[in-house]
Amino acid sequence: MSKPRAPRAAGARPKPATGPARAGMTIPEGRQMPDASRLTPPAHEAGRTGPPNGDAFHTIGKRNRKVEGLAKVTGRAVFADDLTLPRMLHAKLLRSIHAHARILAIDASQALAMPGVHAVVTGRDLPEYFGIIPWTQDEQALCESKARYVGDAIAAVAADSELIAEEALRLIKVSYEVLPAITSIEEALAHPENQVNEKASEGNLSKHVHLEFGPVDELLEASDEVVEAEYWYEGSTHAPIEPHCCVAEYDATGFLTVWSSTQVVHYLHRDLAKVLGLPTQRIRVIQPVVGGAFGGKSEPFSLEFCAAKLSMLTGRPVKILYTREEVFYAHRGRHPMLLHYRTGIRRDGSLTGTDARIAIDGGAYSSFGLVTTYYSGQLLTAPYAMPAYRFDSTRVFTNKPCCGPKRGHGSVQPRFAFECQLDKLAERIGMDPIAVRRKNFIGENTRTVNGLRVTSNGFLECLDAVERASDWKRRWRNLPYGRGLGVAGSMYISGTNYCIYPNEMPQSAVQLKLDRSGRATVFCGISDIGQGADSVLAYIVCEELGLDLRDVRVVAADTDLTPVDLGSYSSRETFMCGNACLDAARQLREQIASTLAERWGVPKGELVLANGMAVAASDPHKYAMTVKDAIQAAEAAHGTLGSVGWYQSPKLGGDYRGGTIGASPAYSFTAHVAEVDCDPETGEVTVKKIWVAHDCGRALSPVAVEGQMEGSAYMGFGEALFETHTFKPATAAHGPGIHHGPSLLDYRMPTSLDTPELESIIIESVDPEGPYGAKEAGEGPLHPSVPAIANAIHDALGVRCDRLPFSPPAVLALLQGSDARGAWERARLGHAGAGARG
C-alpha cells in the first residue's frame, strides 16, 4: 500500500520574482532570496522577522547555552591537533631566512637519508599557483624560484616524529642568491625594478582603485572648514590561541581527507583540488573545532597542501602543526595603511566633501588584497551621509608576510582616520562630536553615495545609548587634565553579496533531517570559529519546530556530509546560513502544520510548536500533542521528512566597476565611547572603560552578540595601544625583514589586567531581510574602538594621536612637541563658547 505523498518538488512551491541579473552572469529563477512568499509559508503571518509561534519567541533572543559549549569546557572538544591517526607521520616546513632571495638549488639528499624521514617535498612538487581570489592567484605551496619574506615556506619533511622532521630540516641545503628587499610602501613605489611578486601587473603594484562620487573638489571649496591630515595605521595580526594545524590522509582508493583548522572549508576544498591535481569529488575537507581565527584562517596555507602531498607520497596520514612563530609568518593580518584625508564641513555641522588617498602595505602576496583595496574606500560611506567622496587606494607588494583579512577587513584603518577627522571638524566648528554624528546620519532605507543599499539602521539609537551610559553630556570636556572621553561610530557588512568566484549557485545551504525519534539534524557547511555559528542554526530549528535545544544536532563544515556554505568570513554566517536554515525549517514546519490542521480541523495558522508541545492556539487543551507525536503524524502523512533551504543574496551595489564590492544585504552599525586616564609625565594611556552600542538587528543569541561586541572592542583596544606586527631593518648581524618578536610574549596582546571594562548595549533594529531580522555582530564592533580612544586622548591631553599605536613614547613625543595643555584649554573654551552660542 502506498502512502499519500504531498507534492514536494521545487516546482510546487511558489516561484519568486527574479531580479535583474548581474552582468555576465545569470541567476536562475527561484534562486534569488528577497522573496517572502517562498520563505514564509501561508500557515503563519510572522514573515521572516517575527516569531513563528504567537507573539513571543521561545528560543530566539534567550540566553541559551551553545550546542558545543559543554564539550569545550570539559576538554572533550576535538581540535585539529587533538587528532591522531594510526601510522601518522609528522611534517615540518623549512622557511626562508632571507626577506628576498632567488632559490638556486635545494639539496635534500641528506635529509632524505636520515633514519625516520619518509619524504621531502619542494616547490617543484607543488608548482600550481593558488590564491583565494581567482584573478590574483600568485602563491605556491612552497616557493619554487624565489622566497619573498623571512619565513616563506621552501620545503617540507615528513618523519616519524616532529623532532626528527625538525632535525632533518637542518640537513636541507638551500643555495640562495640574496636580492635587495623591499620593506616599506615608499620603497615598493620607488623601486618598481626590484619586483617582489612577478605576478604583479607592473612594478610592485598589487591593486589600484580610484573611485569618485559627486563633486568633491567643489564641495570642499565651498566648506566652512576643511581638515587635512595624514594617519598611520600599524599592522597587527590575529594571533588566535590555536596555531594552524591540519591532518591529511590519502587512502588506497585515491581519496584524500583533510582535517584543517580553517574557517573556509569550501575554498580550501577548491584550492586543494587545483594544487594537487585531484578532482574535488575525491577530496573531503573537514573542519574540526577551531580555536579562534578572526580572518587568519580564511585562506589555504602551505600546511594543507604539504600535508596532503606528503600523504600522497607516503600513503600514510600526515600532520602539520605550525609553531607559534610560523603563525606569525602565515599572518594575513591587518594591512599597515598610510591614509591621507581632506574632509569639509559647514558651520551647521553637515559634511561636504571627503577626499582620501590611501597607501596599503600588502606584504609578499595578494591574498584578499583586491578586496582590501576596494574596502579601504567603499565601506566608509555610512552611517554618515557623504554628499561627495573620492578615494584613491594603492596596495603594494613588500618582502614581508602577506597581509589579509583581519576582523573588520580593510575598513578598520580608514574608519580610524575618518572618525578622527570628524572629531577635529567638530572641534573646528565648536560642536559636540556626538551632535555632528547625529547631524550627518544617513538614515534607513536609503542608498549611500557609492550606491550601497542600506536597509535597517539603528545608528542613532547606538549614539543615544553610549551618550547616556557614559554620562557624556556632563563629563565630556569637563574631566580634569589627563582624563577624557571620546566617541566614534561605524558600519559593517553582513556578508558579501557575491561568492569569491563567480557562479550561479547558492551562497549558503542547509539540509534538515527530522524523524520519528523526535530529533533534528542540521547539515550545513557553516564554519563555527567560536562565535556560535552552529548554535544559531540550532536555535532557529528549535524556534520553528518547538524542540528542546538538546534534541538538535548540527553537523557542520564537512564537504562530504554538508551542503556548501562559503565559510566564516565577512560576517556572513548568521545572516546567510540563518536564512537558509529558516527556509529549511519552515518547510518542515509547514508539513507538520498541514498535518495537524487537517487532523484537528483547525486553520494552519493556529498551530503553535513550542516547549516540546504542538497545540492549536484556539483551544490548546483540546488540541495538543507532543512535538514528537506531531513529527510522527507528519512522517506518516508526508513520508520521510527532510528539507533543503538556501540563501542567495539579491543583486546589490553600484552600477560601476567595483560597485558590488562592499555591497551587502544588510549593514550593522556601532558607536563607542571610550574613557581614558593618561599620565602626562610618561605618556601612558590607560583605557578605563569602553561603552559599546551595536545594532545587530535582532539578537538571536544575546550572550553570543555581547561576546562578539566585547571581543571586538578588546581587539581594537589592543591594536590602538599595544599590538604591532613590525619588522627590523638590516643590521650588521642580519638582513632586513626579521619580525620584531614572533611570540605571544613579544607580541603584546592585552591580558586580563590590561583590558578595560567593556559594557555592551545591544540595539535591535530588526532588518527586513535578516533571519528574524538579524544582522552581523562579529566585526562591526571593532571599528570604533581605535578612533574613540584617540579622540578620548585628545579630550584628556589636547594631543591628536594620528599614528598607531598610542604607546607611551609616542604620546610623550606628542606632548613634548606641542602646546598640548594650551590646545586642551582652547578645546574646553571652544566647547563652552559653542554652548553659549547654542
Binding site: 547555552r65 559549549g69 569546557v73 570539559t74 590561541i241 590555536e242 607559534r324 567560536g530 566585547e710 596582546m749
Partner: protein
C-alpha cells in the same frame, strides 16, 4: 646522556596513576597529550607565553609546556579532564558555558585551571583578584569580560554549596 632514550614516567593524573614513555626532555604537556591521550590541555605557543597548557601540579597552576614530565613524578597533576564530578560538570565549567566564557574554547582548559586554583584558595575573590589570577592565560575571543563573569558566578555557586558544611 642519550636524549632519545625513553624512560618510563609515572604520573598521578586526576587521581589515576598512569605510565608513559618519555625522554628526559619530554614536557608534561607532551606526556599528557601524546603519551596519555589527555588532549584537553592545549598547546598555544609551546614556550610558556599563552597559558593554554595550564594544569595543576600539587594544586598550583603550572605551565605544562615548559615543565618536564619527569619532574612531575609522584606529584598530583590535575587537568581539565579531572574537573567534572563524573558526568556532572564542575561549577566553573558550567559557569563558563552559561555565561559565554568559552567562545572558541582553546584557552578555556588553561583558563579553568587557573580559576580552579584561585577558587580552591579563595571562595570569594574580587574581580581584580580574578583578573590577576587569570593574567597568565591569554584569551583572544572574549575580551575577558565573560570569563571574569563566569568565575564570579562559579564562586557564588561554590559558596552556596559550601554554605551547609562550612562556616563562611
Amino acid at each position: 646522556m642519550d636524549t632519545r632514550q625513553k624512560l618510563v614516567c609515572r604520573l598521578r593524573v586526576n587521581g589515576d596513576v598512569r605510565e608513559c614513555a618519555t625522554t628526559p626532555h619530554t614536557t608534561l604537556l607532551e606526556a599528557l597529550r601524546y603519551g596519555l591521550a589527555l588532549t584537553g590541555s592545549k598547546q598555544g605557543c609551546d614556550k610558556g607565553d599563552c597559558g593554554a597548557c595550564t594544569v595543576l601540579v600539587d594544586g598550583d597552576p603550572v605551565l605544562a609546556c615548559i615543565t618536564l614530565a619527569l619532574a612531575c613524578e609522584s606529584r598530583d597533576v590535575r587537568t581539565v579532564e579531572g574537573m567534572a564530578d563524573g558526568a556532572r560538570a564542575h561549577p566553573l565549567q558550567d559557569a563558563f558555558d552559561v555565561t559565554g566564557g568559552a567562545q572558541c574554547g582553546f584557552c578555556t582548559p588553561g583558563m579553568l585551571m587557573s580559576a580552579w586554583a584561585l577558587l580552591e584558595r579563595n571562595r570569594n575573590p574580587t574581580r581584580d583578584e580574578i583578573a590577576h589570577a587569570l593574567s597568565g592565560n591569554l584569551c583572544r575571543c572574549t575580551g575577558y569580560t565573560k570569563i571574569l563573569d563566569a568565575v564570579e558566578l562559579a564562586a557564588r555557586d561554590l559558596r552556596e554549596r559550601d554554605g551547609g558544611s562550612r562556616p563562611s
